[in-house]
Amino acid sequence: MSDQAQLILWLIPGAPLLAAGIIALLGKLFLGERSHVPCVAALAIAFGCSLVLLTKIVPTTFVSGLTSEAKVEADKQISFQPTDEQVITPQRGAIAKGYTFLDIGTMQVRVDLRADAIAAIMLAMVTGVSLLVAIFASGYMHGDPGYPRFFAAVSLFVFSMCMLVLSGNYIQLFAFWEAVGLCSYLLIGFWFKKPAAAAAAKKAFVVNRIGDFGLITGVFLIWKTFGSVDFQRVLFNPELIQKINEQHPGTIPTICLLLFIGAMGKSAQFPLHVWLPDAMEGPTPVSALIHAATMVTAGVYLVARSTPLFMMAPNVQLFVAGIGATTALISALIALTQYDLKRVMAYSTVSQLGFMFMALGAAAAGPKFANFAIMAAMFHLFTHAYFKALLFLASGSVMHSMGDVIDMRRFSGLRHVLPITHWTFLCGALALAGFPLLAGFWSKDDILAALAEGMHSSHGQFFTVIFAVAVLTALLTAFYTFRAYFMTFWGPEKFPEEAGHHPHDAPPAMAWPLRILAIFAIGVGFVGPLHLFSGYFEHTPGLPAAQEHGFHLGLMILSAFIALGGMAVAYKWYIKSPEIPAKLESGLRPLYALSQGKFFFDEIFTAIVVAPIRLIATICALFDKYILDGVVDSFGALPGFLSQAPRRLHGGLTPAYAATMLIAAIGCVVCVMQLFAGQ
């Protein structure tokens, strides 16, 4: 590890942190409308450093030309070394030494930056997207009174996210897991004077607590089981894992389940998905950055990172796949009928995250397929970040020009008025729908391939169902994406009155990020078929050895047909014969209402969780008011009661006090006499 590499590693989280500090301290007073400058500069630095890390540092630390057996040998050598910083071999990735953060008994937690292939990919994606979003936001948020606050929080978020990705142990990961949650809370509630935003921020925070509880419990269990929380010791030590799994068969599945509960909270998986659609109350750049591209994928990252543990718990992996499929299907169904453009995107995000978890669960098919399945999940995460950020930013651009109106029924035919927004949105929508040769096509195809491979394993029937759900969800995705597209950009030109007379397209600060992201949405998928992604990704330590896998031409044709079919149906229903949706709505009223009402999850949770807790809280409040306060008040009343008698002595007449003093003096004299008498 050269000093230069250390510096680059530290710059990635350090620059955003410095920017956050500068903006937070000086923003209000000096920077004002220039508050985005430190943020954008820091993110550019971080992005540059991430690219250097991605292309230079991490690859040079890989052992080139090793066969998989030799790799296992290398793993063994590492695993039997003590977990001292000096002897961590550089082959597995880059580590920047930090400092010891906690030293309790046998537990030593360090703050280190640990970069390997998966982390480098994540970092490049996170910093790249956040750079573009920050530039976009400098135009989008212009004139907002909280402008400096926004950029301070965004910088802080990028710092926390980078630290999360660069964590070398579970405690650090948990700490920054919470930090990104905090930033998410701050940014969802950015317009905290709006009651809906404040409520949404609170909801996101509370729902995330449930997941975080699972995560921290899992981390405790890891510490108890492995005696360490260091990735190096816990994850990259196959023999230790094997031994523990033999001695305590139930422990590792429990750990995996708890970690997955954490991931469910952060990545909005059923049934903890309810916070994400509400989080759209935040500013749109925040939705694009945190609630589409980066933070919500932290759960996927966690599960992918913990693959060595999950490989020991195939049942948990099946559970992961099942939850992913449920989430994907339900949220796709909800997205079908929503009229709020951002909300459609939010449910789409939840659905795509479900896809990623399906792929992660497909690793249960067997060690042979695991590498491909996890690669597929991370690849989808990678491409999804670009096109979903693009879609959100384009929605934000629509909102910007429509005077913050987001209901699709109130505007239509915007393609002539907002040409840049229209074209970039179209790129994103095509990528999301899985139009052939665009980003989403390749990654979704990989996921379907991974699931198809699962069908040949011992869990074949299960994976057949999951595969069917995935195909159905892909069809629904293409449909609702283009439903939103057609409703927004086609049809007769119609503006809401809030937009004013001349809606204007995105200003340059917003247009250029859109264009760049559109190019990514079209082009970034080609790293998949060219084996660039998988070739890089398989260097990630701890993954099972990769297998050769060819093109699944049949699957590709299938998914292309699915995408085109969904788009065609959307075209047919919303452009050619717009009366069909209305007919369907009246024909299938209960189902329609179910979708429109978001499957009534909020109402169900209110009834079964919130109401009992409220009842308990009311009882506690009554207990507090009448019993606890009664006890405390009676202590307060006691002196008053006891003083009823002595207060009669308090007559206010000075000689009375003097008489008291005199009597006390007599008492003193008697005491002195007793002293003399005693001698």
Binding site: H650, G651, G652, T654, P655
Partner: protein
């Protein structure tokens, strides 16, 4: 009767006791203060006697300090008495029992307040004249913010 009392100590103790009686029973503020002074005399006499018994000057030095404090006390007490008298036009101590609890009855009989005015409900607190400012005979004792409208009506 083993030993015999120092006779001067007997006088000092008797002075102290008589002063205490006066302090407790008299109602005239001036008599009360005089009684307190007499108690101080008793103490001073005891101090001097003790000094003589020990054969050194310490008792007398103590007495000098007692004298100092007594002088201060007398000055302040007289100023207070005058200020109280200013308020009620009476030297009766029983009129002053504002320290008692609000809901308690007055500690003295109703006859005592006959012929004397009750203290003001809004007493004028004593203040020092700010240095360098001449006392304007028109201004009231408490410094008040000049009221422009009032001045205008006077003019």
């Amino acid at each position: 009767m083993n030993g015999s009392i120092q006779p001067t100590l007997l006088v000092s103790a008797a002075l102290f006791a008589l002063g205490a009686i006066g302090f407790l029973t008299r109602r005239n503020l001036i008599s009360v203060i005089l009684s307190a002074e007499m108690m101080l005399h008793g103490v001073a006499l005891a101090m001097v006697t003790f000094g003589k018994m020990h054969g050194n000057n310490e008792g007398q030095i103590f007495t000098i300090f007692i004298l100092t404090v007594a002088a201060c006390e007398a000055g302040l007490a007289l100023a207070l008495i005058l200020s109280l008298y200013h308020r009620t036009k009476s030297l009766d101590m029983d009129l002053w029992s504002a320290l008692r609890e609000d809901d308690m009855p007055s500690p003295v009989g109703h006859d005592s307040s006959a012929g004397a005015t009750q203290p003001d409900t809004h007493p004028v607190q004593p203040t020092l004249t700010p240095a360098g400012l001449p006392i304007d005979p028109k201004t009231p004792l408490t410094p008040q913010r000049p009221n422009r409208e009032e001045t205008a009506t006077h003019v």
